[in-house]
Symmetry: C2
Subunit: 363 residues, 2 copies
């Protein structure tokens, strides 16, 4: 049971990435403590402006927080959420009419020119704008009308972890503040309050994550599946594996996957599936069973449900007792541990991913 | 110069896929001839309702037509376009407030339950709805207020080709009908009128596509890059390669690619780049030069510009003389020919892709 967390692999040397994965319970707990002061002014502005549409500009990991927002604000707040194509503004020089939209920029550094450009165009039109960033003095923060500071502390590892879970927590806090029914709001606050403890327990998945990683260290391709609220988790898991472990990890919503690339399944190409209990469970379990039985897929299941975990050749646990709508904040943690373990198992240095810088200034 | 088109490879046996690739000039010409009757009622409805937001539900290849619409309607019509997450409706049972949105479902079969569900939810709210489909009597067509029939003829190959270019042509026609300035509208009609001839010339890329395919037949991974209006082309090219040639082809917008997966470039992993002249040319040429010189990337360039083609180890031509905003209708054709040639070069049957059915009924 030696592992990344408390075990020898991680502790033989300093490693920002491992440290920042471990900081996540504290980072999210701090955000929840500041919840109302952070999100109430934004929620008030959204209500006053009669907002029904949201446009989110984000890149990389932050784009996966945007995907969580698309599903969560749709499911819980009935908002229509568009993920912006920033190059419409930056390359083609056109500002879409943002009309009665809330326009949100998400960027840990607050330095991404394309995200800033979308928020600036919206603000010039008088649309409500919000920056979600870990850098309150950044150009993005200066550009937006409202700013939510993630307060996650400096993120030193090149691969983002604690700023991702912090972004998800802000998305969940804002959803809660927008609920009209006080009883529903209190229930949501209760769900959120249990997240830091669940994050702590999620760190305990390290031994399982390492065992699974050890057995797929030789693969050069993988398929990552998720759905609904957990589609963001699949995307972020795949990105971590790509940027850290240099493995072609192709993420799909389970629905899209059936529309084409089933052909990619073959021996030696593991399927990583985010399949927790709740709304997506039955469909995911059915699909995974079929991929295993008809296509010979070798599946690693990330789940809180032992029955679904049993479908896989490998399993990584998600802590139980987490409400479905906030579970993506928790489920990414065992996936981060798996990506880190896979990186080490492949003899790569998680502190020096090939070809990456912390801030990428695309326009 | 023997080739798929007119050469021995294709003509030794019947092949729906090759035939349907060749039908595209005629399919698009027929659509353009019916242009005003098809799109004017929709444009009139959009104007009357003061629409600023569009929500599009689509899966698979049709989702790439939706991406073209997102960029084109943003750049030329200043509309904010959201790509719907259908499972919000189908799995979570929630209908977002579509407000003053036009809600569009794109599906060649018109039989995709998740696309139908989004359109039905919008119609129940009184929002304007549009079905773009090759099957006018389909459930999707029955559900929407407006229907545009692609009239592409039955698509027998499992991999969609002619219905994709037909969908793009409808997106371009609708953009044109929404232009307020009559002079701009006439210019756009002129651009569109030149597309069928360009499609005919694009079929002449077959020998180049085959030569490139022959040299990458042994690869098991590839990266596909595009940007802006041509991001849809990169996505569709990658999907065709995945579903037909069983090769992990990972598509990125050039901007997102720099935010993470540069690490994936290595010898034996070709980079396929959609990099035509115009707005995206300078940025793509700069990126490709850097990927080649600093990361050792082996690049196949799809372009109308000989200077950019020269950046690549391989090149596939796009016909010149096509206006940038309609070029995605043309640029996908050499990419389709490349995917077909790659499939044959890998000894696979393009008529029987593994694990695929023509209509996938996900919910």
């Amino acid at each position: 049971m030696e592992s990344l967390v408390g075990g020898p692999i991680g502790d033989n040397r300093a490693m920002h990435l491992r440290d920042e994965i471990r900081e996540q319970p504290a980072v999210v707990a701090r955000l929840l403590a500041r919840g109302p002061e952070l999100v109430d002014p934004v929620a008030e502005r959204v209500r006053r402006a009669g907002i029904e549409h949201v446009v989110i500009a984000a890149r990389g990991t932050s784009d996966h927080a945007a995907i969580y927002a698309q599903y969560l604000w749709g499911v819980r707040n009935r908002l229509t959420v568009a993920l912006a194509a920033p190059s419409i503004v930056t390359l083609y020089g056109v500002a879409p009419r943002f009309g009665r939209s809330l326009v949100v920029g998400i960027s840990q550094s607050g330095a991404s020119p394309d995200v800033i450009a979308v928020v600036a165009a919206a603000r010039a039109q008088g649309a409500p704008t919000l920056a979600i960033t870990n850098t309150p003095g950044s150009p993005l923060a200066e550009t937006a009308e409202h700013v939510i500071d993630l307060g996650a502390g400096v993120e030193r590892a090149i691969a983002a972890t604690k700023t991702y879970t912090a972004e998800l927590a802000v998305v969940a806090l804002l959803s809660t503040a927008l609920l009209a029914d006080p009883k529903a709001r209190r229930a949501a606050e209760g769900d959120l309050a249990r997240v830091p403890d669940a994050l702590e327990r999620a760190l305990g998945a390290a031994p399982a994550a390492e065992a699974v990683a050890a057995e797929m260290a030789e693969a050069n391709r993988a398929i990552v599946l998720g759905r609904g609220l957990e589609y963001a988790t699949a995307r972020e898991w795949a990105l971590k594996i790509k940027e850290l472990a240099n493995l072609f990890a192709d993420p799909y919503s389970a629905a899209d996957f059936q529309h084409g690339p089933v052909a990619l399944i073959e021996p030696g190409v593991p399927v990583l599936a985010v399949a927790p209990s709740g709304t997506i469970a039955a469909g995911m379990a059915e699909l995974l069973g079929r991929l295993r039985d008809e296509h010979g897929a070798e599946i690693a299941v990330l789940s809180d449900d032992p029955t679904i975990r049993a479908v896989g050749r490998w399993a990584i646990p998600i802590p139980d007792g987490v409400a479905e709508w906030v579970r993506p904040i928790v489920s990414i943690v065992p996936a981060q541990l798996h990506a880190l373990a896979l990186t080490l198992a492949r003899g790569l240095d998680p502190e020096r991913p090939r070809g990456l810088r912390k801030v990428t200034r695309t326009v």
